[in-house]
Symmetry: C2
DNA sequence: ACTATAGTTCGCAACATATGAACTATGGAA
DNA sequence: TTCCATAGTTCATATGTTGCGAACTATAGT
């Protein structure tokens, strides 16, 4: 088992963060971790509450790795399971306002989606054909 | 020639924006456009001042398309050339703080890189081969 | 119509991603 | 210690995405 790779704070890049969070599944994971606070942990097993469609654990493992190697989360083994926590405070110090802007944008978007879903449960985006 | 596609403001997604800006070339283009103000335009031809390595124009064309279809820029033909302007104000209204956070992070990162390049022009990241 | 300039599209090679199957790691029970 | 269950990783591969040269389209000036 290759050891877990956590970049040091100065090796974290904006491009890496944006790429990691440009995937909807990773974004959902990260939002849940970041909003949950420092004692909130998720892993491949208890994540179904956060994401809607079922995702295989090999895929989830890769997503956690992507978040970890982008520097967004810290992963530690505790017994048989993994505890993933967000590295928000560090990143806020290096890139002030970045995560706040992204998290807020996700909030705006998910509120808007909820509103649209309530209005028209079946239709999307008035696409003909 | 297929007509240019500009998503309406409510169809712009966070994921789309983050993905578009997770590419270093597109990020450099966008930073230049955004910081240049509303009368600043760049295109496939006058862009060499913004990016360091030379990039084929077919690639640049694709990058502009990616930015356009993510909703980040607006492209208009003026005679034989293209004028690309940032859509920052619209996006700021929909996702307050998002672009500011990203632009600031890029500024932090490029200042840091400039500092490192001045210190040790040839060495990078103290990696032992 | 001809030429020059600016940008787009096509086709393909190189790279990235998602996932089932097989594997590793840890803890507890017998 | 051995066996089993649970949690997660790695591998192989099929599918998707990207970068770029070559060919094409569009516009302006002559």
């Amino acid at each position: 088992m290759r050891p877990l790779i956590h970049p040091s704070i100065e090796d974290i890049t904006v491009e890496g963060i944006l790429h990691a969070l440009s995937d909807p599944v990773r974004a959902a994971i990260y939002v849940a971790l970041a909003l949950g606070g420092s004692d909130c942990t998720f892993n491949c097993s208890n994540l179904q509450q956060v994401i809607d469609r079922p995702i295989p654990k090999s895929t989830l493992s890769q997503h956690f790795r992507a978040l970890r190697e982008a520097g967004l989360i810290r992963s530690e083994r505790h017994g048989v399971e993994m505890r993933n926590t967000s590295r928000c405070p560090e990143i806020e110090q290096r890139f002030p306002g970045l995560l706040a802007g992204i998290l807020n944008a996700h909030k705006v978007q998910s509120m808007e989606r909820a509103r649209l879903a309530k209005r028209k449960p079946a239709a999307r985006k008035s696409v003909a054909g």
